[in-house]
């Protein structure tokens, strides 16, 4: 899929790494199917009260928290936000965060703001 070539003239997003070694599925699968996983989980939780954590939006948000200038996780309002870093690029609007919280609750374990996790898009996206 999308590979960020160092010297490419084409700008591609390089979203910051999440917490831990790997995501709940491999990266290529997640790139193509994360919305299906979320939508499936959404109905299971809403209608049946199944609250497994693997594909829960709350867990995505916690694991993929990106620190802002103050070291605290940024919300979807900030272009550094994990979801936004790609969705801005592909110009796909997402409605999740009109209702859902886009950053972890205070006290909820989330990705630590360290150097490895810093925003890696050189130059940043056009804002």
């Amino acid at each position: 899929m999308v590979e960020a070539a160092e010297n490419s003239r084409v700008f591609v997003p390089s979203p910051p790494k999440g917490k831990g070694d790997k995501c709940v599925r491999d990266t290529d699968f997640m790139r193509a199917n994360h919305m299906n996983l979320l939508k499936h989980q959404r109905d299971e939780t809403m209608r049946k009260g199944i609250r497994t954590k693997q594909y829960s939006l709350k867990e995505c948000v916690a694991c993929h928290a990106v620190p802002g200038n103050d070291g605290q996780p940024v919300s979807y309002e900030d272009p550094k936000n994990f979801c936004r870093s790609c969705h801005d690029y592909v110009a796909v609007k997402l409605d999740c965060f009109e209702c859902h919280a886009s950053k972890p609750a205070k006290g909820q374990a989330h990705a630590l703001p360290n150097a490895d996790n810093a925003y890696r898009v050189s130059g940043g996206l056009p804002q």
Binding site: N36, L37, H40, Q41, R42, E44, M46, R47, K48, G49, I50, R51, T52, K53, Y55, K58, V61, S75, E77, E98, C99, H100, A101, P104, A105, Q108
Partner: protein, 249 residues
């Protein structure tokens, strides 16, 4: 497409038995002490073996105390916009007065979580629905904000979100253009807890006016109280079978 069953039937059965053992402690042969509601396993759907309900003792509810309302607002991130006519209100205090005698009562009114909810009947998209355990919810993913349910509800339990919101709490997603109402703190109930209003009434206000529990379980505190005391349900004549019971009115 993504549903994977990693647990064999044997493992499920074993876990079920283990949960049953955890729920009841045998004191002596033939005598079993049942604890309060146990958290259901995360991967299990809710079932109709449970019917959540509430009993509100209006004799214990104090005029002027709004701890249940405050707790609800805090838990679910409900913030007013200075417009009392349209601001979201999931639970409210209602004051009653008998015009003949002057006797007064104060009690909280919230979504009654009816067995036959009219809001579900009128919903054109299926967004209003009743979970198997009796909790009536709005699936905001399919709600189009038509507000038929608000007109159908005889308890005025529902609110419409008029404003663009931000800083919602992670446990309670809310957004502009959708109808919402008391969820019976479904996120807490699924984790084995009680609604925030009940907790506040018991622990903060120390009044114990609200009891939450399983109406299907004869050993639950609420069932025992319902069996002992005469209780009423608001507009019981409508035949909606509300899950919220009142005593003292």
């Amino acid at each position: 497409m993504t549903k994977t069953d990693t647990q064999s039937p044997d493992r499920r059965r074993f876990l079920g038995n283990a949960a049953a053992l955890a729920a009841g402690i045998t004191i002596a042969p033939g005598v079993t002490l049942y604890g309060v509601a146990q958290a259901k396993p995360l991967d299990q759907p809710v079932s109709n073996s449970v019917r959540w309900g509430m009993l509100i003792d209006s004799n214990r509810c104090a005029d002027g105390c709004t701890d249940c309302v405050t707790a609800c607002n805090t838990e679910n991130g409900l913030q007013g916009h200075g417009r009392p006519a349209t601001d979201a209100q999931w639970i409210r205090k209602v004051n009653l007065r008998d015009p003949k005698t002057g006797a007064k009562k104060s009690l909280p009114v919230l979504c009654m979580h009816c067995s036959e909810p009219p809001c579900v009947d009128v919903c054109p998209t299926g967004a209003s629905f009743k979970r198997d355990d009796g909790i009536v919810l709005v699936d905001k993913h399919t709600c189009i904000g038509c507000r038929y349910c608000m007109m159908a509800c005889p308890y005025k339990a529902r609110s419409f979100v008029h404003e663009t919101l931000s800083e919602q709490t992670p446990q309670t997603p809310r957004g502009k253009g959708t109808v919402e109402s008391c969820t019976l703190c479904v996120h807490r109930v699924d984790a084995g807890g009680t609604p925030a209003c009940v907790e506040a009434c018991t622990e903060k206000a120390g009044r114990d006016a609200m009891v939450f529990g399983d109406l299907n379980d004869p050993a639950s505190e609420i069932s025992k109280k319902l069996a002992k005391h005469v209780t009423t349900r608001l507009r019981a004549d409508l035949g909606l079978e509300p899950g919220v019971h009142y005593s003292g009115i």
